[in-house]
Amino acid sequence: MAAVVELEAVGKSFEQFEAIKDLSLRVEAGECFGLLGPNGAGKSTTVKLLLGLTAPDRGQVTVLGLPVPEHALQVRARTGVVPQHDALDPDFTVVENLEVYARYFGLRAAVSRADPTPLLEFAGLLHKRDARISELSGGMRRRLSLARALVNDPELLLLDEPTTGLDPQARHVIWERLRRQLGRGRTIVLTTHFLEEAERLCDRVAIIDHGRCIAVDTPRALIAAHVEPHVVEISLPTRESPQWPIEHCEGERRERVGDLLYIYTPHGARAERWLQAASRYRALHRAANLDDVFLKLTGRDLRD
């Protein structure tokens, strides 16, 4: 299978800050690939490198078979980008945003004059065709931003935190639209720190931290490889005796973060027992998810 995106031993620094240390990635055609990482891990720099907006100090970036940034313009002509902050043009209406953006791709005559209706329909914005951007909700803006990224019928879609700041409904609509794009054979690369997003959408995810890729696999395989399938979370008031859990779950992997106690176990039945034992506390039993992998691999310190 052909690689749509390939990074080989890429390094990139900005003045004192080493944003990417040594990054190698390969995204196959038709795949939805997630870049996960805490703030400052190097996700946005990776996106910039893929678009040829910045040149790597070391290593090789290849997108759609072309070396970047040397062929950045050809790559961008075949790529759709949904930026983190929609950056829609506030001086134009919904439909004008699509038309004006299409012209940036040199899509004169044929495409420019073509009916933007299918894109508006895709974005669920037919009824808002002539509305100003300021009249749109956050979800509508993001959908328009996504529709705009499709004006050039791109082979690759690049999304920088596509659902950050959206409410759950709006988020689900975006996911559904993105799955439709995958169904049409486009390749998607997205950055996110919503693990749920990566689990629902991505065929494979790369966990990036401190400018390095620390794990790449399918979400399920990552969970299976790094954390036990069952997690019990117990909220223990800080003053109370911390002795309690120890006696009950000797031998299991535990983690204490603030007032939360996490117990990881391969046995569902045990997890249920602890949950009952902890009935006077706020507690829950859930399946392990990418969050646990992510936090295990990148640590629990706050990143600002």
Binding site: L53, P83, Y101, Y104, F105, D153
Partner: protein, 257 residues
């Protein structure tokens, strides 16, 4: 369908974007670019002119008119390349969006440069039209001030883009207007002949692009050829090319970090 666009024409959709926005906001924009310099021309020309009678052998308003053309082109081009370009670059992130399309920073700068210059030309030509309607000059040769107005627009648009590249907020532009443009207008022979200045200041002024432009525009407006146009043309050209290069250099640096 996505065949590459020839490099020379890539600025055009960006320029056109600005034009489309302007068309919608034109009335408000015209008030700033045309009515304001017009009031200056009339107030000073007729008001002050009634006290002065003649300057360099012509009625004061005829003397002032050529300076006003250049000044209004200067101000309009500067406003556009500072406040408006900055809001597109920094506030609305329009430039970042453009860079996600197959465009480079140079395309954006060329478009913004030509666009800001166009605003200057529009403003300067509007004053020229009014001056003609008021019979301030009846010489057909006054039409030859239009190329001078174009040059002023291009020059100050390029200079504005330098300031735009280093600005952190809108407030920064006050420095440029108050410490650079206003003094330049006062020593460039817009309101009174340069030879009224102390000789050292006159020497400084004569190397400034606005003074060079006024030097070219004033005789043309009054119907005769400038006696020695070449130095003035070269001064404007040098400022424009230098500013354009520097603006590109500084903007590229801004976008690299």
């Amino acid at each position: 369908m996505t065949e590459p666009v020839p490099a020379w024409s890539r600025f055009w959709p960006i320029y056109r974007r600005n034009l489309l926005v302007w068309r919608r906001l034109a009335p408000a924009s015209l008030v700033g670019n045309v009515v304001e310099p017009l009031i200056t021309l009339l107030a000073f020309g007729y008001g002050l002119g009634s006290l002065l009678r003649e300057v360099e052998g012509v009625p004061y308003i005829a003397f002032l008119a050529a300076g006003s053309l250049c000044m209004s082109a200067t101000m309009a081009a500067s406003f556009e390349s500072l406040y408006s370009a900055f809001s597109r670059m920094h506030v609305q992130k329009t430039w970042e969006t453009l860079l996600n399309a197959p465009l480079v920073l140079r395309d954006i700068l060329i478009a913004e440069w030509l666009w800001a210059a166009s605003k200057g030309v529009l403003s300067g030509c509007a004053i020229l039209l009014v001056a003609a309607l008021l019979n301030v000059s009846r010489e057909p040769m006054m039409l030859l001030t239009i190329p001078v107005i174009v040059a002023v627009g291009l020059c100050f648009a390029a200079m504005g883009l330098i300031i735009n590249a280093i600005a952190r907020s809108y407030d920064f532009f006050n420095f440029y207007f108050t410490l650079v443009l206003m003094p330049m207008i006062f020593i460039s022979g817009v309101y009174y002949p340069i030879d009224q200045l102390p000789s050292w200041l006159a020497l400084v002024a004569s190397k400034l692009p606005l003074a060079a432009a006024v030097d070219l525009a004033r005789p043309l407006f009054l119907g005769h050829w400038p006696t020695d146009p070449l130095p003035s043309v070269l001064i404007i050209l040098a400022w424009t090319m230098g500013a354009l290069w520097w603006a590109h250099h500084l903007t590229a640096r801004r976008f690299r970090s």
